[in-house]
């Protein structure tokens, strides 16, 4: 059993996919299926032994935000009626938090470099959250964003940064995939909401930012990943069944993620 749970394919794929599917299917009727992505991610983090909070390293602060994001998403979904500014507001909140996550690294860099790096990460986090939150009412598009961002940041991290971040990224993709599969069946009745949008955008943004700050992946990697929420806005056949819409929008987002992975591979090689 231990050998099985140490297998990277199980850690970053099979186990989080199973958790994502079960969570999405079990919670779809109470409009909490959006917890699938964060649940899958946190399962992988737990199995990899990364789910501790002390000492407060950048990775552990990241884990804290990965718990806070879906919790905040649930609150937004059930306690508020968020308007257009909510995405920007939450994006700004997590942008500041992302600087806090990487503060211990930034303070060791020269002032100019630290400002550019911290500022760049903050803008990226704000962008990703704001544009993903804008699509929170569309479960298929939000799920497709999570799938592509998870795979893109995950494979990119494996190629150019850390295997740990890589597996966490693929786990997020697996959880988002689990949600998408359930959403294909339930169609518009499957709500991802702010719970799913905040989870996938915050977690994937911090994986990509972590690869940049901790492993010096190229800055353009963030710029390319930032296109994924835009790709998810491309038109899909409106009257097509949910499963077909999900496939089409996933193809859009995965195309950008694939381009990013190819460039990451070329840069690494």
């Amino acid at each position: 059993m231990n050998d099985l749970l140490n297998d990277p394919a199980v850690l970053g794929g099979v186990a989080p996919l199973a958790v994502g599917l079960v969570l999405a299917a079990a919670l779809v009727r109470v409009r909490l299926a959006g917890l699938a992505a964060a649940g899958a991610f946190l399962t992988a983090a737990y199995l990899m032994g990364s789910l501790s909070l002390w000492p407060p390293t950048a990775t552990r602060k990241f884990m804290l935000l990965a718990v806070i994001a879906p919790a905040l998403g649930v609150i937004v979904d059930f306690a508020f009626k968020p308007n257009r500014a909510a995405g920007m507001l939450l994006g700004a909140l997590f942008a500041v938090a992302s600087v806090w996550v990487f503060w211990s690294v930034l303070v060791q860099r020269p002032m100019g470099e630290a400002i550019a790096l911290g500022g760049g990460v903050a803008v990226f986090v704000l962008w990703l959250i704001a544009f993903t939150m804008a699509l929170r009412a569309d479960a298929l598009r939000t799920g497709a964003i999570g799938l592509a961002l998870g795979l893109g940041t995950g494979i990119g991290a494996i190629l150019g940064a850390t295997a740990l971040f890589g597996l966490l990224g693929t786990a997020l993709a697996a959880g988002s995939g689990g949600f998408l599969l359930v959403a294909m069946i339930y169609g518009k009745r499957a709500a991802g909401g702010a719970t799913l949008a905040l989870s996938v955008s915050v977690i994937s943004a911090l994986i990509a930012a972590g690869a940049l700050v901790l492993a010096n992946t190229p800055w353009w990697s963030l710029a390319l990943l930032a296109l994924i929420p835009l790709a998810a806005r491309l038109p899909v056949p409106e009257h097509a069944p949910a499963w077909l819409q999900a496939i089409v929008v996933s193809l859009y987002t995965l195309a950008v993620a694939a381009a990013y992975c190819v460039l990451a591979w070329k840069f690494a090689a």
């Binding site: 000492p55 950048a58 150019g160 850390t162």
Partner: protein, 198 residues
């Protein structure tokens, strides 16, 4: 009588020198911490850190002493530093957040005190190793410790040196990646030479 007194003082001087705590600075060119990790449960792989600095304070009369070491984690060297067709070399991977997380923790430190003496030299050091932001107790066994004049300087410079060894569980410091294929237990072997401060 005066000559006898001068002679006695001259004979006693080297011993008098040990009567008070003496400070030594690590020779960075001949002092390296090595480590061994068991790979796939088959064999022990060895690596080292190329850069280490530190201070030793010893009082052999009082049988007390302290040591402070600072090791640059970015100087990790396992002999695999060219990535070739791979996406990265092993040394590059060791510097990432999977292992030493050099960007966030560029240094690990050991602060300890001589806990046991054999004759006039320290035999064991008990201290605290700080790695990846976590501090845990570590005991090092000291072997071959000796002090004497540096033969390269015709005795003008005084030095001490020896080997210290111990073991840690890396998971206790939060370094869990690759366990059990890369063993949790890490053997430490630190070779130290240090010059007495003037």
């Amino acid at each position: 009588m005066k000559r006898i007194a001068v002679a006695l003082v001259a004979i006693a001087l080297p011993f008098a020198a040990f009567a008070a705590p003496e400070s030594f600075t690590i020779d960075p060119f001949h002092s390296h911490p090595h480590f061994q990790v068991k790979h796939l449960d088959f064999m022990y792989m060895t690596g080292r850190f190329d850069k280490m600095s530190g201070k030793i304070v010893m009082d052999t009369a009082a049988k007390s002493g302290t040591v402070e070491l600072a090791i640059e984690t970015g100087s990790v060297n396992t002999g695999d530093h060219e990535k070739g067709p791979r996406s990265r070399s092993r040394d590059e991977h060791l510097k990432t957040a999977d292992f030493f997380n050099v960007a966030e923790f560029p240094r690990m430190t050991f602060k300890g005190a001589a806990a046991r003496w054999t004759g006039e030299w320290p035999a064991a050091i008990e201290g605290q190793l700080t790695l990846l932001g976590a501090t845990r107790p570590v005991t090092l066994t000291v072997e071959n410790w000796k002090c004497g004049p540096d033969p390269r300087t015709q005795g003008k410079r005084y030095m001490c040196g020896g080997n210290a060894s111990g073991a840690i569980k890396r998971s206790e410091f939060g370094m869990k990646f690759g366990i059990p294929n890369l063993s949790d237990e890490i053997r430490l072997m630190i070779g130290i030479e240090a010059f007495r401060d003037q």
